[in-house]
Symmetry: C2
Subunit: 713 residues, 2 copies
């Protein structure tokens, strides 16, 4: 029964996604366009973007497939279950891993497909009305939001059902074994996310920086001008980074936090009355199912009547879905979770109300982190205006103020996370921490909808410009885009916060499986682990930032070459070779994603193998605390620089072209890799290392820590 | 006997300092100057700098005195010794605190005095020869290096002797009680250092940024031009930040690491044969004494025959003193420390050879960290040249590459620190960690000599410019200054590395006193502590960076006002009001140092009082790992930007005035607060919080953690 309900909720999400996908696709471009010729222009441009995006995805995923198969083989060969030596545990985990990776890849394709369908229709509909245009962009986002959430839930429930049917009844710790196998699903999703985020992040910023530096600065042509050879690559990049990358990131978070909660929750289910067993066991998945309903309800509140209401409409959806979830989770939790339980025979006694509190805390702190992020990155508030003001004395003060804003903005979110951890732990032990993560991700369907809305309307603006639809239309798409920028910042705050909790939940699950209840921070091995963990976000950020620099340099050379060699290109009579720029971005991002990817994947494996699980726990926590601080401050510095520039462009402090504006452009360019490459990729760093540790814990327990005996007597 | 030897070694250092002080002061300015008129100009300028510096110190220290007395009263009232309730433990600690603070203040005065005597003489002697000029700057530095080390050692030995004579023989755990009282000395030194570093850092960069932005950029006059009203403040700033601030920082490190080792070492001394008791007890002080001899020996290797040998000469001193120490420590350690010992009845058995290894590891890893820092910040190597190259595409890419260089540069030093901690712990437990810190600080006398050499020769260049001594002289002082810049970067790496180990040693001592041998990282209170600890460096850096911005803004306004209102100032006929700018920097830095200062001092007190020592341990470690990474990357980004600019100024990439140069100037300005304000102040943050925890541990044990009962059942 319970499986049926969760499956139904997942299916509901998929139906919503399909409904909106059909609705958006069925809109004809010619409905809004002013002439046959405009239709032709729009079609040409949008196919170029769509082809570029798909070409990148195909290339990226073909590289990824090789990696995934290799990784699956490693999983199959190295891990096994001690209590059930005859069970092909490694193979099952590898299957689970491949399914997770496959669904993540599928989600990426779906998101990209709809985004590249929706962007041109959003542009065309801007001729008709703001509402029409907004709703196309928003519904395109909803396809991504609901589709991905639905796939995650359905995938995990079916996987549970499959392994529950497959495994012999006499397997020792049967429930736990199944949940452990399911962890592979999270690892698969997260591995795809790593390359999606890193590769996508490098792609989008190489194209963006390259297009801006040569086009805007050197040649003096406007943004999104069709004469700029990198303009298609730039628009492709928005989809690659913000749709496929962000989607894979949050898909990973949902899958991972659910896996963590499922593993930890087995202990509760094993001790309750048989009629409550399955509901307790699958409660984490159920929460995500309820989130779909809450997200669906919130969609009815989204109405964009006028240009200045767009941002509020999007934010309202997030607030409504959170409130609905907070209310709905009470009866659900009281029903599904036993009135009192223990996580181990020696643990404290917890209650179902405690579990509810942990979920609610996650929900609320997620919303608060989002709103704080908005405060620090929207130019309606003081911090961004201070950065804009500091541009008066030049680029240097703009940078100093922007960096300091980023540092400051990470203070309260981190404290909120600390409070969430403490409340989660008090109310339901490690299970509470995992459930806070799931709570924070409860409204993910609407969160992702809003996130994906951003690049769609950003692209729509680009297409309107390239198709020369005129300034009125551009103004309309710009107002949609501006709202998307703010909500994108909220989404980033959210993604980091949930990544932090997910990582903690995974670390808890890892420790639970490793039978560790005490990690002594004074043990030098643990302390060294913390220190090495702290190093990782720095090394990783250095790599990814430099990659953007290197890739952008290649792009700059190519754009300069085309301006120089293609006759009449700048005059508008020649035609730019867009495909070449798309190729450069694609090749560079795929080449550059390897090294940081390996750093993240190999570190936990090496540490666990050579120095054991205690040091690994130190590494995970060290990377977590330093990574979260860095990720938040990078994302918010970047967002603030972007919006400080936009604020000046509204005519403040001299407006476009003034000295302060030039200073603000420097800040914005520095912020690009901060907020779209290194910052978001840190989410994956902290989550992926934790789930790798979780999946490989049987291996570490059997053969890990081989160097430890030389260190500790 | 042992006390006598240490005292003699301390006195030797003081004698060396006095010898050089006399030598430098006895040189007449007119010896080098070309005319009576030049002597007059030199004298006027140097007195302006000297007066400004002294005025700042007087003002800063008068504010500090109030704070110190108040803090001493708090110490006297709140802490007591449980085992010896009748002992006026708090009062003794307060006395120890005041003496530590007093000596630190005295060191600052001495350093400033000699620096402001040496700078003008270095400038004048540049007329005679490079060697003459170099040796004056170097010997001025030696006054600071040896004087401060001598004062630290003599102060602590006399304090030990005093309390050993004062305390009744029947005091329970008498040795431990004395060492605990001595911890107050470290706290005093470190509290002065906090305000010295923060206030000095804000002072120097406000003046520097203000002078540069209006003078160089707006008015187009050269650096150190006497027409610039902020030029004296800028030169005062070099002394205030790099002499008084740096000196107080490293004085604090020496005092604190010694206190930590003394407290932990009591356990060893209590179990050994009576004839070894005192030598074991005072071994940490003895190591510093040996360091004085090693430093003295290395001075004989310092010869600057030609301009390109200056840097090598300085580096050689550091390498020689390290090697001498590594050799000398072997017999000393084998003699003074028992062949085998335990830190507690249940601890591993350690050996004196193990202690030697821990000291040697500290020495060597300190040197390595210094050399790595040089690699990342000297323009003889690839990283800085890459940053310079990136300036070709503008300020944004310069900033991106510089930040990424900083991140990268922190990787190996942190791993070296982790290795040092593990080796230290394996060879001698917590005592080993403390002894690694002392080892790293063993060559402090020569290290500080080199550090202080930098601002003296920097000032000499400024004075030569202001006194219009001509381009030849300026070129000579510039070559001295350039070497000083590189060694300053080495010194900073060194200061951070030793601060990290010192903080760990103090944390170990704190935990030893709090009877904690296990801090469970999975305890949510500890985890929350780690997260809050991670927040502190960010919050602190945001504060100090903004303070520089605010103070620089005030300076900019004033310089602009003078250019506008003083007739003939730019033409060279009017006279700038230097004193006004000095006043502004002084007032701003003293006002702005309060808030970050309170953050650092109050956080451990509040956490300990409300949430107890476990959470406090988490806060200390969290702040340590995030703070060290941030401090190293900030210092090195800043150093690299500075030297990338200097590299371009040598004529590369278009040279001075080219577009790449302008881009590099932006990076240099961003780097100013990074490397001279926020970065170095983080050293104090991590050390000071740890020693506060150590000193207040009796208070926390008696009345701390009052909110804990609501959290943990």
């Amino acid at each position: 029964m319970i499986i049926g309900i969760i499956l139904a909720l997942g299916a509901l999400a998929l139906l919503v996604a399909m409904f909106y996908a059909k609705q958006v696709s069925s809109i004809s471009i010619s409905e809004g366009a002013s002439s046959e010729e405009e239709v032709a222009r729009l079609t040409t441009i949008s196919s170029a973007i769509s082809e570029g995006a798909m070409a990148f995805l195909r290339k990226e995923y073909s590289v990824l497939s090789i990696f995934m198969v290799a990784f699956a083989v490693i999983i199959a060969l190295t891990i096994s279950d001690h209590s059930n030596p005859s069970l092909p545990f490694g193979i099952y985990s590898a299957v689970s891993f491949l399914i997770g990776a496959g669904i993540s890849i599928l989600s990426g394709f779906i998101g990209m497909k709809i985004a590249t369908i929706g962007n041109v229709r959003t542009a065309a509909a801007a001729r008709i009305s703001l509402q029409k245009s907004f709703s196309i962009a928003f519904h395109s986002g909803a396809v991504m939001g609901f589709g991905l959430t639905g796939l995650a839930i359905v995938g995990m429930v079916l996987l549970y059902f499959g392994f529950d049917s497959l495994l012999p009844i006499d397997v020792v710790n049967r429930d736990l074994v199944i949940m452990e196998i399911l962890s592979g699903f999270g690892l698969g999703g997260s591995s795809v996310a790593l390359f999606g985020r890193v590769g996508g992040g490098i792609y989008t910023k190489a194209a963006d920086v390259g297009a801006d530096l040569v086009g805007k600065v050197e040649a003096g042509i406007p943004e999104d001008d069709p004469r700029n050879p990198a303009v298609i690559a730039d628009n492709v990049g928005d989809n690659v980074g913000d749709i496929a990358g962000m989607g894979a990131d949050l898909f990973g978070s949902v899958a991972e936090s659910t896996c963590a909660a499922l593993v930890i929750g087995v202990a509760i289910a094993s001790a309750v009355a048989p009629e409550l067993r399955l509901s307790t066991l699958l409660y984490p998945l159920f929460v995500s199912g309820v989130g779909i309903v809450a997200s669906l309800i919130s969609l009815f509140f989204v109405r964009a009547k006028s240009e200045d209401k767009v941002e509020f409409a999007l934010k309202l959806a997030l607030i409504v879905s959170t409130l609905v979830m907070v209310v709905a989770m009470y009866p659900v939790t009281m029903q599904m979770i036993p009135a009192s339980f223990q996580l181990s025979p020696t643990s404290n006694v917890f209650t179902n109300f405690g579990v509810y509190i942990s979920v609610a805390t996650g929900l609320i702190s997620g919303l608060l982190i989002g709103l704080i992020t908005e405060y620090y990155t929207s130019h309606r508030f003081k911090p961004v205006r201070d950065v804009a003001d500091a541009s008066k004395t030049g680029a240097a003060t703009n940078i100093i103020y922007g960096l300091s804003l980023g540092y400051n903005s990470s203070v309260i979110p981190m404290i909120l996370l600390a409070v969430t951890v403490v409340i989660g732990y008090i109310t339901a032990g490690m299970y509470g921490i995992a459930m806070s993560a799931i709570g924070m991700l409860g409204t993910i369907a609407v969160g992702l909808t809003i996130d994906a809305y951003g690049p769609v309307s950003d692209n729509a603006g680009g297409i309107a410009e390239m198709a020369e639809m005129g300034p009125d239309i551009r103004k309309r798409t710009d107002s949609l885009d501006a709202a998307g920028n703010t909500t994108a910042a909220i989404g980033k705050g959210f993604a980091i916060g949930s990544a932090a909790l997910t990582s903690l939940a995974l670390t808890s699950a890892f420790l639970t499986r490793a039978n560790l209840t005490n990690i002594n921070m004074l043990d030098p091995i643990v302390l060294a682990g913390l220190m090495i963990g702290a190093v990782l976000p720095y090394s990783f950020s250095a790599m990814t930032m430099r990659s953007v620099g290197t890739a952008a340099l290649a792009m700059i050379e190519e754009v300069r070459r085309q301006f120089r060699e293609i006759p009449g290109l700048l005059a508008g009579t020649g035609k730019a070779d867009y495909a070449k720029c798309v190729e450069i971005s694609t090749a560079a991002s795929i080449r550059e994603m390897i090294a940081p990817g390996l750093l993240v994947i190999l570190t936990p494996l090496i540490i666990g193998f050579f120095f054991g699980v205690q040091m690994l726990a130190g590494v995970l926590i060290g990377a977590l605390i330093c990574g979260v601080m860095m990720a938040i401050s990078m994302a918010n510095s970047g967002g603030a620089w972007d919006n400080a520039k936009k604020y000046i462009e509204t005519g403040e402090l001299g407006g476009k072209g003034s000295e302060p504006h030039k200073a603000a452009v420097v800040g914005d360019t520095v912020g690009d890799p901060f907020k779209d490459t290194s910052g978001p990729a840190l989410n994956i760093l902290i989550k992926l290392m934790a789930i790798i540790s979780l999946v490989f814990v049987p291996f570490f327990m059997n053969s890990g820590g081989i160097l430890l005996k030389y260190f500790i007597k």
